[in-house]
């Protein structure tokens, strides 16, 4: 006799818990929305996302450009034909990806 009763109670409790946590979630998201203040928050988020995107772009392009420039100058200096440029352009591209990876790793861990 006691077993079905316990089940019922458990189910009731679970339902109440779910309802309460749902309510809490709604309230929290409302609070967050009110804190961020609608449209201003949207503009700020767009700006931050744009600045992050621009950072990624700049880091990557800078790596490639620096690698290419170093290779070009090494070729001029040592007269090693196109090989310095080829090797350092590849290394620069790798460095660009490495920069982006470091950036992504720090922003997600933050």
């Amino acid at each position: 006799m006691t077993k079905p009763n316990d089940d019922q109670e458990d189910r009731n409790l679970k339902a109440r818990l779910d309802a309460l946590s749902n309510e809490l979630k709604v309230k929290q998201s409302d609070l967050q929305g009110a804190e961020q203040g609608g449209k201003d928050a949207h503009v700020t988020r767009t700006g931050q996302a744009m600045s992050l995107g621009f950072r990624v772009l700049a880091e990557f392009v800078a790596g490639v450009i620096v690698g290419g420039f170093l290779g070009w100058q090494i070729d001029l200096w040592l007269g090693t034909g196109p090989f310095g440029l080829i090797v350092f352009l590849a290394l620069g591209t790798a460095a660009g990806f490495w920069n982006v990876y470091k950036l992504a790793a720090t922003t997600t861990s933050r």
Binding site: V43, T44, G47, Q48, M50, S51, F54, R55, A58, E59, V61, A62, G63, I65, V66, G67, L70, F88, L91, G92, A94, A95, G96, W98, N99, K102
Partner: protein, 264 residues
Amino acid sequence: MARDARTQEDLTVAASEQANDPIHQFIVTPLMSDHIGPASFTNASLFMVIVSLAVTFLMVIGTSSKAVVPGRLQVAAEMAYEFVASTVRGSMGNEGMRFFPFVFSLFMFVVFSNLIGLIPYTFTVTSQIVVTFAFAALVIGAVIIYGVMRHGSHFLHLFVPSGVPALLMPFIVLIEIISFVSRPVSLSVRLFANMLAGHITLKVFGAFVVMMLGGGAFAALLSPLPLIAIVLLTAFELLVAVLQAYVFAILTCVYLNDAIHPGH
């Protein structure tokens, strides 16, 4: 003769287009005829002086009253101080506070030149790559000099990450060196390109208004649209101006942190 006539025409077209030329606002012109050595006092130098004076004014006048209930200037000065101080402390720890004057000066100069550049008919100092690259070179120079002074050859561990197989080591070290060299490039290009792009966008939309007003009745009716876009873009540029100065300051902190704790 025909060629002369064409160049004449080109000149008049050039003169009328100068008002709409979005690049014209970035031209550096000497303001005085006499040179000081190889240098001359240009509109860029004038606005650097104005920016420095504005920063000095804010900090000196703002902090002079030392009121318990601060006035507007004092609040602005204190907010700027606390903002940069918390950024420096957050990314470098208390030890990094010795770099606070450096980071604070950089941040204030960049944010003021960005903001003053948004006023029409002013010159944006940070839209010149030579200025932003000089700042970035200063930052990286400080990183290298302080790192070598403090850690000696141990500073080079910055380029040698731990736990890399010996076979890959030469490549990784080369990549790390290129990555380090690319820092001043990306730091300066980001600020410069943001300012340049923003001001060109504003100018192009401004030219749209003028051209549509002179482009027949239908176009003239639509000409308020780019004007509204300018208002929105100006607000957005205000955000970008402050955000880019903040990004510049925080990256300066991140790079200086490498000098304090290399190899982590």
